[in-house]
Amino acid sequence: MSSLTYEATGIPVESEEADPVNRRVELLLGALASSVLLFIAGMILFTLFKAWPSFAANGLAWFGAGGNVDAQLTDIFNSPADPADYIYKLRAWPLIWSTILISALSVLLATFIAVFSSIFIVHFAPGPLQKLIEPVVKYLAAVPSVVYGLIGILVLVPWINSTFITEEMRSSVAYVIQLDGSSVMAGVMILTVMILPIMIALIVDSLRAVPLNWREGALALGVNKWRAVRTVSVRAIRPAIVAAAVLATARALGEAIMLAMVTGSIGFAPNPFDGFLFFMEPSRPLAPSILDGEEGLSVVPFGETMYAFGFILIVSCVFFSFSGWAIRQSLGRYSIGAR
């Protein structure tokens, strides 16, 4: 019967068997997706393989604190030529702590600011202002980080030095560290500004996609505008906020140039018990440490140590993407199509 229709009209009728073209496209896309995954897995394994001597020589102490990390790196760099005498000793905690501190603070700050400014842009700003803000914000996402670093060094660091750092502060820590404005604070402030545009762009888009009739439904119940936005729109876009935060975290973890320029680039672990002073202390996260170590890569144990830094960064990014995905799954329970 169906072949009859086919001959009579010339229009292909859906056949029982799978369409061969469709099948080929599926295979192709599948192959593409798996090769990307394979590539990422290969990269992680390769990095781990290269980094292994550094991890193996230190054991779990690699992640711990102890001694001056910059001095240790210098020793590794000055290792004797004989592979048997390579020096690997490293206690990387100050660098890890600095990475956690600067990324977490700036992502938290940026998420907070991004959510509120997106709400303002979408729901409260007058029309012409909205039209102006959005493209400007999106453009800011494209500013190269070295430019931010330059502004940081020339403007922000001296400003912090003269505004926040008192003589008592300077003398109180003079025996370990010099305070000159290059600091956690400078890094966090500029990093926040750097990751804000992409977060705002993503959150604004998702806020706009919230169906108007949800908000109307809330307003019609006598809920005020701000509360309706917060309890319906912002609630509905929580998965998008998480996605934006994960993207921003990846960006923050990987930022090297700007942070190398403004954080003082010293392997020092800022001490939260120092109170406000803590924000004024210099430090250096992992990514700028790789950048700083660039000229030493030909020294085998030093190169391997840098691979170890890289491995930690890759694994953290994978970890954050995965937890972001898991959080989005649990938040998505009540959204459209959820069961």
Binding site: E216, G217, L219, L221, V223, R235, Y334
Partner: protein
Amino acid sequence: MGIESADEVHDRTESGIPPIKRIVVNGEMPPVRVSQGEANGAPTHIAESFVIDQGAMAPAWTEERMKVESLGVRFDRKEAVKDVSIEVNSGEVLALIGPSGCGKTTLLRSLNKLVDLTPTAVRSGRIMLDGQDTDLMDDTLLRKKVGMLFQQPNPFPMSIFDNVAYGLRERGTKRPGKKELEPIVVDALERAGIWAEVSDNLSHPALSLSGGQQQRLCIARSLAVRPEVLLLDEPCSALDPISTAIIEETIVELKSEIAIVIVTHNLQQAERVADQVGFMYLGDLVEYGSVEQVFNAPMAERTKDYVRGDFG
């Protein structure tokens, strides 16, 4: 007005439509629910199974709540509502009927100023609530008193419970606890005729309900906040006869306390629940009067055609 105790309505036998009984519920009577078996038998006569206590009187009082004075609404250059004047009284139900696109929803959305959210909308004329110009009132305050059910179901992306509790939780300064909310939520779900279907899992996502269930959930949501004026935009458009009957019963029950405006394409429904009827055509309020007058002795030719069903 509106104390139509007559149960048997008009002679419709010539058009072949079975006679329709009006639902008359005595204010003192406990709510009556249809049993499945009762309704399954003869869907066409469903209304009859609801005529309880035929001699009972609907509330003998009406009180003016809202007054629309020559309301006009334009979208850009398109006039959606033209010079409409109408009153909304508590103690009775006002039904708005008319062909699609005639401005019923726009009129309804003007009553709680929701139409102002549309940037292209321009509103003229006055709308009074209890003698006070709504334009001088705070939007949120107005909407606390004037509740609305939307034509398209719009449950929030939350659980069933949170949907019904939403208004109560978010409109005050103090968020009531789950214990306080529970009886109100259950009552609202019962009145909306959806309790039996959702009672076993109130934490289920509202968006996974069927279209008709979503519509009833939204009815429950607007009932839970106990509005003084309730605007219903085609509340039964997606509902089966049983659910429709439950909703109609709730409407009749509620009208003793609040003012209700219902938009409907179902003329039999309008006859069953309404006391006043407004017929709109292309933005004009062509006819406005008691349900008997509009359906039995319409003055305008257009109304006559529409209620008889020979409308183009």
